[in-house]
């Protein structure tokens, strides 16, 4: 008993002494960083993997991106040169999202000649997630990061777009419980550096789409699950107040055209396409209804049916 106990004690003291000295030499041992953690981890993992040659997701466009090698890269010359985007790829799909991760989520990024911008969340803790925008205006040479909202648990719907080099919007939803969630919009007037949250309509159904057509006029479309009629809210004062748009729906299209897409400007008018929702079966289920508004989106009248290939 005595040699065993003494032996174990000496071994434990030796190990504790050695680890104490090692830890003492590394004060960072006691401080982990909320951002460096994941970056370090992903970098280490990626180095162990065989690096694939980057291929653009869209071969037909000179401006494209790649999510290979666990990193997001962008190219402006069909894949000749690449710039790495300083975002961990997992952050691009973080939140209430179960779709494919080989391509970016539709509308969650802007990739044009003048701007590359990517919406993402910055932590794995869903309750404390920050919604962030990482963007570049010099084709990926330098990157900026701005915070849109913090915290925003369970990010689901996400959309970003810019109307010009300064004016842009972000629409997000989160905290989904069954078929209810919280949706909100943000506006920037300085190219994405700062974001102002707008008021939100009193609507908790799942958001389907949304967008702004100018600096004041914006739309939020609701009713992803089992809608019975289109629910489109419009603001004409930068989101300070929202009112539900009225659709003059021909009788034969009632319960057919159900979910509004984002309206677009056409001269002095606004045009919106309504699709049939997930269960639509009118004329094959893909035909959409085109509606026109002459009063900035407050009321809409039917224009025509649109075949699916006309909308692309």
């Amino acid at each position: 008993m005595k040699p065993l106990l003494l032996g174990i004690s000496v071994l434990m003291i030796t190990i504790l002494t050695i680890t104490s000295f090692i830890v003492y030499q590394k004060p960072a041992f006691f401080m982990t960083s909320p951002f460096e953690i994941d970056i370090t981890e992903s970098t280490a993992d990626a180095e162990e993997e065989v690096q694939e040659e980057l291929q653009p997701v869209d071969y037909n466009e000179p401006i494209s991106y790649s999510l290979q090698n666990n990193k997001l890269h962008i190219t402006y010359d069909s894949g000749e040169d690449w710039s790495e985007v300083p975002i961990e790829t997992g952050q691009l799909f973080s939140g209430d999202y179960n779709g494919p991760e080989q391509v970016l989520i539709d509308n969650s990024y802007v990739l044009t000649e003048d701007r590359a911008a990517f919406l993402h969340a910055d932590t794995a803790d869903l309750e404390q997630q920050r919604v962030m925008l990482t963007y570049s205006t010099d084709k990926g040479e330098t990157w900026e990061e701005s915070e849109i909202i913090h915290p925003f648990p369970g990010l689901r719907f996400r959309k970003i777009d810019f109307l010009d080099d300064q004016l842009g919007y972000v629409i997000i939803s989160g905290s989904r419980t069954m078929s209810q969630e919280y949706s909100t919009a943000f506006l920037t007037e300085d190219g994405g550096e700062t974001w102002q949250q707008t008021n939100s309509p009193e609507e908790t159904r799942l958001i389907a789409d949304g967008g702004f057509v100018d600096e004041s006029t914006g739309f939020l479309s609701f009713g992803t699950i089992s809608p019975e009629e289109p629910t489109l809210y419009v603001t004409e004062n930068k989101g300070d107040s929202w009112q539900q748009a009225e659709f003059d729906m021909p009788e034969e299209y009632e319960r057919v055209f159900l979910i509004a897409e984002t309206p677009v400007k056409d001269g002095d008018q606004l045009i919106v396409l309504l699709d049939q929702g997930p269960n639509g079966d009118y004329a094959g289920g893909l035909v959409k209804g085109e509606f026109i508004s002459d009063d900035n989106g407050e009321t809409w009248s039917f224009s025509k049916e649109v075949e699916p290939d006309e909308t692309e």
Partner: protein, 287 residues
């Protein structure tokens, strides 16, 4: 062979402290593992040295209680323990020059606020506790800290951390550990406190234009864009890029989806200052 003439209680206590010592040793080894694999750290960096010291004391007691030893052996083993403890205290003192841990228990002892400051870079990181004594880095405070951190628990699950930046501007960070909505949904604190609130020499009005606070006859107005929400329990009102006030929801505040307003619910108003100030409790006034 020397006969082991230890009494029964000595053996029992000896085995207990030996097991405690072995447990603490395993805890340290486990810490090394979770630190490198799960980026967890002790909630307070000093724990590492205190656990080493406790482990060493347990081992010494176990040896003295379980083994029949000579006086010379006892002196040597006690001397080694003292040297070990001295070395640990020296290293603890050294690490205190590099890292500062602020650890505070909530009034109901259910939550721990854990903040660590890198004294070389003045970077301050907020940690969320895991498994009692471990914590994971959650968020870097937005500006480098100059001087002390002032911590005030505004409720059992809300801690306000006030500090000054190197540029002498006041900042606040709010750590939240719960919610008032039954964890069913995210909600905006600003919208939930819509209405008029009264406290001792304080009136607060929250309306679509923002929040207006009147203290001792002096009125300040904050637009909604000058508010920052933390969790679902508190907002900070900012003025000239500085924190001015924190508003937090008390435990009797009930968040409802239909925005029902109860007159017996309270919020707490807390000024962002490094001076010694107390939070003020406000009660909702009927419309």
């Amino acid at each position: 062979m020397k006969q082991n003439n230890k009494k029964g209680w000595q053996k029992v206590v000896g085995i207990i402290v030996l097991l405690i010592g072995a447990g603490l040793f395993c805890l340290q080894l486990g810490y090394l593992y979770v630190q490198s694999n799960y980026q967890m750290a002790y909630i307070d960096h000093r724990l590492f040295y205190f656990i080493n010291i406790a482990c060493m004391i347990c081992l010494l007691l176990a040896i003295l209680l379980l083994l029949s030893t000579t006086k010379k052996f006892n002196l040597i083993s006690t001397g080694i323990t003292v040297l070990f403890i001295a070395a640990q205290l020296i290293m603890l003192s050294g690490s205190n020059q590099l890292v500062k841990s602020v650890t505070m228990l909530s009034p109901d002892k259910k939550h721990v606020l854990a903040i660590k400051e890198d004294l070389q870079t003045n970077e301050v990181v907020y940690y969320r506790p895991y498994f009692g004594i471990f914590a994971r880095a959650q968020e870097r405070l937005p500006a480098s800290v100059a001087g002390e951190l002032k911590v005030e628990w505004l409720a059992n699950d809300i801690a306000a951390v006030t500090y000054q930046t190197i540029g002498k501007s006041n900042r606040q960070f709010i750590a939240t550990y719960g919610d008032r909505g039954g964890r069913t949904s995210y909600y905006q604190v600003g919208a939930q406190i819509h209405g008029t609130w009264q406290g001792e020499n304080v009136e607060l009005i929250s309306d679509p234009e923002g929040i207006t606070i009147t203290t001792d006859g002096e009125t300040e107005h904050f637009n909604w864009e000058n508010t920052q929400q933390f969790g679902t329990l508190a907002i900070i009102l900012e003025k000239d890029n500085e924190a001015a006030w924190t508003i937090s929801l008390d435990e009797n505040f009930e968040v409802t989806s239909d925005m029902t307003q109860y007159t017996d619910e309270n919020i707490t108003l807390y000024r962002a200052t490094m001076d010694d100030n107390e939070p003020v409790k406000l009660q909702r006034q009927s419309e």
